[in-house]
Point group: C2
């Protein structure tokens, strides 16, 4: 069994994650708001893959392979490398490809490092805004063009006081899911659509209280976990279990709000 990484190693991984984000930003900003090539991967489903996505993931993979050749890598475009490593970099170069295509600067680059299946560090980067959210054991922080600040989720303890966000009502496909969405919009103070991973960063930043979404992939969610947890936030699936693999998830500013949300979902049946 590999030893747990020590503080110096975690510092090195954090600095390296910044290098990866910088490389991704060069590709993502180069194509943002330019005419881009869009291909449909799914049958009948609009699933855009931009040139930027592909170039950014290639750049990230090349850097990881050069620096940590034994580490695992999991990404949407390039599959899973070095599956047996205790370390795995899980990357989504452009989360929110629809926002990206529509010219809306709320897409993000997601970079996570896990150790033996547990989240270690996470990074949520929005290079057009110049905002980079970090999380790791012991804390979360945000760097902007103006400096660096610690992140802390809010203590909003009830649904009626909570600011709720989800990317699209279309994520709630089944009748049960539609009932869950209706109950959440009715129970919360305010609903805001259209944020993708950026909404989770705003839970860590103490602005949004609750995000509920379905159909997430490992690369959609793994970077969010350290950022949320380092800021005091919590994240679980609809059954209250860990969410390293994605699925239907609840992210909340604190444990009471998570429990209130899981109770609401449970009552829907």
């Amino acid at each position: 069994m590999d030893p747990m990484p020590d503080a110096a190693q975690i510092d090195a991984f954090t600095a390296f994650a910044e290098t990866l984000a910088d490389a991704a930003a060069r590709a993502s900003l180069a194509y943002f708001r330019r005419e881009i090539v869009v291909s449909d991967k799914g049958a009948g489903v609009f699933d855009p893959v931009t040139q930027a996505d592909t170039e950014a993931e290639s750049a990230i993979r090349a850097l990881i392979t050069a620096t940590y050749p034994d580490h695992g890598i999991l990404g949407e475009e390039g599959g899973h490398a070095n599956r047996d490593s205790p370390y795995c970099w899980v990357i989504d170069p452009i989360d929110g490809t629809r926002a990206y295509i529509a010219g809306i600067p709320l897409w993000t680059t997601l970079i996570a490092l896990s150790f033996e299946g547990r989240p270690l560090i996470g990074l949520i980067d929005q290079p057009y805004l110049g905002e980079r959210f970090f999380g790791r054991p012991g804390g979360s922080w945000l760097t902007t063009r103006g400096g660096k600040q610690a992140l802390a989720a809010r203590d909003t303890g009830t649904l009626k006081d909570a600011i709720f966000s989800t990317t699209s009502p279309d994520l709630f496909e089944s009748v049960r899911e539609q009932r869950i969405l209706s109950a959440l919009t009715a129970a919360t103070r305010l609903t805001r659509y259209g944020c993708d991973a950026y909404a989770y960063a705003l839970i860590a930043a103490g602005r949004i209280d609750l995000v509920v979404e379905t159909g997430l992939k490992p690369w959609d969610v793994q970077a969010l976990i350290p950022v949320l947890q380092g800021a005091g936030g919590v994240i679980a699936n609809f059954d209250g279990e860990p969410v390293m693999e994605g699925g239907s998830i609840v992210a909340a500013a604190n444990e009471p709000l998570l429990q209130a949300t899981l109770e609401l979902i449970d009552k829907i049946g």
Copy 2:
């Protein structure tokens, strides 16, 4: 009857609109992502009014009164002044108050000047992004931290190729409106929620093709018209009529797309 303003006057009004936007930005940025006071104006409806909104509108009104004391002013917070003037400044210091409260940098400051009931100049400002969209007879442009660029809407002529945006499905309340929203999301290439007035600016910028919304007020819509029209875009209500007073509106990148959307709405009955 007052003479039409000449080019020099329009230049002066445009420069003054920038002064107004700068004043609004000082108030809006001072409170953005800080704990703010929220009051409910409506009964049972969440209608946030922030301190920033009030301070920004006061600052704008004071500047207009000092510089153009005879001009009309219409704003959400302070009502309608100098109704008999041929000129009217129509202002919404913070369009997208829900985005503002949730810490999402897509709210905007809207400033319009009309002459004898027709739109003359429009400004859509997002000071956190450093993006300011202008429109007036003869053209539209965007200024950013990087410079100034002309705006041009796209030639996307069919719904199936169009990127569609609307702020929230909750804008579509009646059964008819819900059917219109379903038809639009099914007919278009991609749907994106959560943009408020910023979506209209992105039509002018050639990134989004279509926005359909209901329940807009004069101060929600008047600044958008010159920005859209100066970039080749079009805007009308569900009956194809002008929208100075707001209501249920369609904004499109070009006339064929507007007509296709009005036909879709008309078929819903």
